[in-house]
């Protein structure tokens, strides 16, 4: 319980970091990819590589918001026997090793979560030490049961905003947001491909007019250049496919090392 409490409190660190002028770096990785042991090593490595929060993805058989890299990672993790329960185990191990590590966000599709039921989902998240949860295929206004169950455990359900979210809806989304707002940079699935800076900037402006929470941008951020560009438009970036690809191909040390180069790039002053 004490682990959980401190991990939850950790999400406030995003606000403090931003106040200190730091751009937020939020890596994503798939639980159990390429196997549970390597995944645990990568999580531990990321904690010391300058991540401000980490999204741990629950592998799902039908990840329709994901591009080929994360979809393949999901398929492999499931074949290796990973389920949502393993994501809880991985999180618990990560938090046990250091309660003030960067907070963990459970990233899942609705069905594995719905399979548990909202109360057990919230209870398991809290017990494992997750600081928040995010459901990729649950629009914020569709089904209040998940958010309500998480709230009873003091955990926010992170809201996703899209480049196609109309201004009025985006304002409402932002007003009720907790933790941070995750803005999808472009239409499409996770992985390679560039967004339109102008659209991202417009959406960030609407969000900021309606909440003080940090805004992080994800989808298609795969190198130092795109990370720096996106971070200039918002408060930070989520980096998923490019990290997962390196983790599978080059191993945890190299992948974490690469994440450190992103951290350094985000910390470099903007050149004139």
């Amino acid at each position: 319980m004490s682990h959980a409490a401190s991990s939850r409190g950790n999400l406030r660190r995003l606000m403090d970091a931003r106040a200190g002028g730091r751009k937020l770096l939020v890596p994503f990785l798939t639980a159990g990819y390429p196997d549970r042991k390597t995944c645990a090593e990568a999580l531990a490595g990321l904690a010391d590589a300058g991540a401000d929060a980490i999204e741990l993805g629950v592998p799902f058989s039908d990840p329709l918001a994901d591009g080929p890299v994360i979809a393949a990672a999901s398929e492999l993790a499931i074949a290796g026997g990973t389920s949502i329960e393993d994501a809880f185990d991985l999180a618990a191990g990560y938090v046990r090793a250091g309660a003030d590590r960067p907070p963990l966000v459970l990233f899942t599709y609705l069905n594995p979560a719905a399979s548990l039921g909202p109360d057990r989902l919230a209870e398991a998240c809290a017990d494992a030490g997750f600081a928040a949860a995010l459901v990729a295929d649950l629009p914020y206004d569709e089904d209040p049961a998940v958010a309500a169950a998480l709230a009873r455990r003091g955990l926010p359900l992170i809201r996703l905003a899209a480049p196609t979210t109309p201004a009025e809806r985006l304002a409402e989304l932002a007003r009720g947001a907790e933790g941070f707002v995750y803005l999808i940079a472009r239409t499409g699935t996770t992985g390679a491909g560039a967004g339109t800076d102008a659209r991202v900037a417009e959406q960030v402006a609407v969000i900021r007019a309606n909440t003080d929470l940090p805004v992080v941008v994800g989808f298609g951020i795969g190198d130092t250049e795109s990370a720096r560009r996106a971070a200039r438009l918002a408060d930070g970036v989520v980096v998923g496919s490019a990290f997962v690809e390196r983790l599978g191909r080059d191993g945890p040390a190299a992948a974490v090392g690469w994440m450190r180069t992103l951290r350094d790039a985000l910390d470099r002053p903007v050149s004139v």
């Binding site: 329709l64 949502i84 979210t165």
Partner: protein, 399 residues
């Protein structure tokens, strides 16, 4: 285990089922679609245009054909609602023409679709050819293999067929790829979903467009017998031909039966979602779902590619729970037997999908009382299946 179930009565829900569980990127498109549909469906001009197409292009109304020899064999009075006689050979065209007219109203000139057996893909490609729209159809490689004829038909009609080699390589993963494409190009693309599945408003749109089947069947019953049938029966994959037939009879004293695919048997690989699944969320809607204890969706299996799907339309889930429709499951062997017997006894080669509905009537003990007047939705013709059935039976004879 308790599935999350929002209060019923909300728009887009059928009891506890339905909703729109999609990435945020698609929400505006579903809102836009809902508005466009409401405007079109209340516009007499839209109906006039659609009705003219259904009459002159599709060949509606489709006949209600008596099946005397099959009736003698089954012990019930069988009447076939002949969706197999529609242009393109199945009920799918009723939906695709309506949705393509809708896409034109929305100014979207690129159309995508998923397909299992290929019938929906062919019907979408046909509607796109008729109106000069770009058409991309996603189809699993397992299905492109067993329905090669339909792949060629789609290409002949000018559509691009994208072969999907991920996951189960069937309808489920073809649908995932179609949704991924839609998420990417949503601002210029309309996704023509082929069944009463997917996020709101699709299950309602497809139901309304397919309800022409039941409206005609009801009118034909009254005209022919001055009475309603005793029962109506249809196969259920996603369930569009079944909903289309059932909807006009929901408030009548007519027994309704939906027949799922039991594949190799209910204790082996099957596609009997309502019989053996539990509620979950797939492809944007809450409905019964074949899944494991961790919420991973199971691969389905049926000899009929059009029934080979681990989900089902949310309205069917509600009709199951309310008890208004009885759902049962028929296995591959029973369906093949019905495929042969319908061909031999009536001179009509049914789609293997539709043969599932007929097979339920050939069972012993009988499903219905002796002589019960029964309308069967013959949802498609079996030409597409001839080659794969021949190969299957050739192989088993060679053993």
């Amino acid at each position: 285990m308790s599935a999350m179930a929002p209060a019923s009565g909300r728009p887009g829900y059928f009891g506890a089922f339905g909703g729109r569980y999609v990435p945020e990127t698609l929400v505006f498109a579903l809102d836009e679609l809902e508005r466009a549909w409401a405007a079109a469906w209340s516009d007499p001009e839209f109906h006039a245009e659609l009705d003219a197409l259904l009459a002159d292009y599709v060949g509606r109304p489709s006949p209600l054909t008596h099946a005397p020899r099959l009736s003698a064999e089954a012990g019930v009075d069988i009447w076939l609602k002949r969706e197999d006689l529609n242009h393109t050979g199945a009920h799918k065209i009723n939906n695709t023409l309506g949705q393509v007219l809708l896409a034109l109203r929305m100014g979207k000139r690129r159309i995508i679709a998923e397909t299992g057996a290929g019938q929906h893909g062919v019907a979408t490609a046909t509607a796109c050819a008729r109106f000069g729209l770009e058409c991309v159809v996603f189809m699993g490689t397992e299905d492109t293999r067993r329905q090669a004829l339909n792949v060629y038909r789609m290409r002949l009609l000018g559509a691009e067929v994208v072969e999907v080699d991920s996951g189960t390589r069937t309808l489920k993963d073809a649908t995932n790829e179609a949704i991924r494409d839609w998420v990417t190009r949503v601002e210029t693309t309309h996704y023509v979903i082929g069944s009463v599945v997917g996020p709101h408003p699709y299950p309602t749109i497809v139901r309304e467009l397919q309800s022409v089947i039941g409206r005609e069947a009801r009118a034909q019953s009254l005209e022919r017998w001055n009475d309603l049938p005793d029962a109506a029966i249809a196969c259920v994959g996603g369930g569009s031909n079944a909903i289309g037939l059932f909807h006009s009879f929901l408030d009548d004293p007519v027994e309704l039966y939906g027949v799922e695919a039991a594949g190799e048997g209910l204790d082996r690989r099957h596609a009997a979602t309502l019989s053996r699944g539990r509620p979950g969320v797939l492809h944007g809607a809450r409905s019964y779902l074949l899944q494991d204890e961790h919420g991973q969706v199971r691969g389905a299996h049926s000899i009929a590619a059009g029934l080979d799907y681990p989900g089902v339309g949310p309205e069917h889930s509600a009709l199951k729970d309310s008890g208004r429709v009885t759902y049962l499951a028929v296995d591959d062997a029973e369906a093949l037997d019905a495929f042969h017997r319908t061909s031999e006894l009536e001179g009509i080669i049914p789609a293997v999908e539709s043969a599932h509905a007929i097979a339920a009537l050939l069972r012993r003990p009988p499903l219905l009382p002796e002589g019960a007047r029964t309308i069967v939705c013959l949802s498609g013709r079996g030409d597409k299946d001839v080659q794969s059935v021949a190969a299957l039976e050739g192989a088993s004879e060679a053993r």
